[in-house]
Subunit: 209 residues, 2 copies
DNA sequence: GCAGTAATTAATCAAGTGTATAATTTCAGA
DNA sequence: TCTGAAATTATACACTTGATTAATTACTGC
């Protein structure tokens, strides 16, 4: 009986493969299904190898969560482009309620990880870091938008508006990703943009992309 | 060595205890921590007994999820009371963004369960049943509110408004429950009511409780 | 009080888990 | 071409998991 052949990979590549395999496992089988063996199989690798790149399974999972959130926010933020604040905010909203951000797979992974935040301090820290970035982005865009609109806006009201808008986006994202409603016939982007405009007191016409 | 003493309980009581112990385990240790032994310990019972009341661990978890959602919606709906639609909707909103509905423990359990919906058909069905109830409730209240306001409202716009409001409530609920923001100095009920009024085009004054 | 029934415990099993380590293989550099 | 070092595999271990079954206990009805 001969050993299976293999070929070496740079450290970064192997790490990425293992993280990708972890996220696939979580998406399809749940967090409980993301066993060391399952992840190794999907990465085309032997279980023992994981230990060379991640001290623990806990570290692997935390790393997977970290890159997952970072990618998610980056993808959403990439929808901003440049231009006036209205346009950038509209881009962010559009990206947040359409694939690949709004998507069943993404939601599954997100929920599985969120479910651990309360009982796992490491995951809690990873979570905190990631979400701060998105909330700050929303708050800044909201601030610019309101100032562009000419309204005088205290920092406190900007903050409150950002909280509300953030909540709306989260909620829409969940509803759409969950797939309970039949959104196939509905223009989710239009709904998201219009309700945002209403919430912020902006002229909806400026929001049409 | 003598056996530990025990006393019998009616079937319904034991089932409730086991479900409660399951939810406690999930909240504090995550879904992975809700082992048969952990649940049994918390219920003051021996692992083997679980099988007498639930065929599988899967059934136990599904039952726990079912009662969790049912209780959650019931608690929120209880905030409605009676009276004009405006008042009932305001009550629902208030209940949704304050304890015990908006609460870290509740969110943890919710997220842990949601994370399984995509990979577990049984949990998916339980989930679907539960959420339909809440969405229908919101849609009905929104419909009544808009009609009370005198606006002519097609069923389609009612539906869209309900989707958006539902999303806003979900998002606020998550933000508040997550505890990332410092909501201690902020009146979350006021924010939720005002933004709802803005969204539905209702006079905010009618929403102050 | 007493017997029978049903609930509960205790003990055990096979399977799967994360982890550890030694044996192998690949590959870069001389 | 050859050698040394690093990556990868293979194997094994201790532990936990969900599940099963027989022995024991508590309670109900007579």
């Amino acid at each position: 009986m001969t050993r299976r052949t293999f070929h070496r990979e740079p450290e970064a590549v192997r790490q990425n493969d293992l993280i990708a395999a972890t996220l696939d496992s979580v998406a399809e089988l749940g967090l409980a299904g993301a066993t060391v063996r399952e992840v190794a199989n999907r990465a085309g690798v032997t279980p023992g190898l994981i230990r060379r790149y991640f001290d623990n399974k806990e570290r692997l999972v935390a790393a997977a969560y970290r890159t997952f959130i970072a990618d998610l926010i980056e993808t959403a933020a990439a929808g901003c482009g440049d231009g006036p604040a209205h346009t950038r905010l509209a881009g962010l909203i559009r990206a947040s309620v359409t694939a690949p951000v709004a998507d069943g797979r993404t939601l599954s992974i997100w929920a599985a990880f969120i479910g651990t935040v309360n009982s796992d301090p490491v995951m809690a820290e990873v979570h905190r870091e990631g979400y701060q970035a998105f909330r700050d982005l929303v708050e800044q865009l909201v601030g610019e938008c309101l100032r562009e609109g000419g309204t005088d806006t205290s920092q406190q009201t900007i903050r409150q508006q950002a909280i509300v808008l953030n909540a709306l986006l989260d909620g829409l994202w969940i509803e759409i990703s969950m797939g309970g409603d039949d959104f196939s016939r509905v223009d989710v982007v239009r709904i998201a943009l219009d309700s945002t405009a209403t919430l912020l007191g902006i002229d909806p016409a400026e929001f049409r992309e």
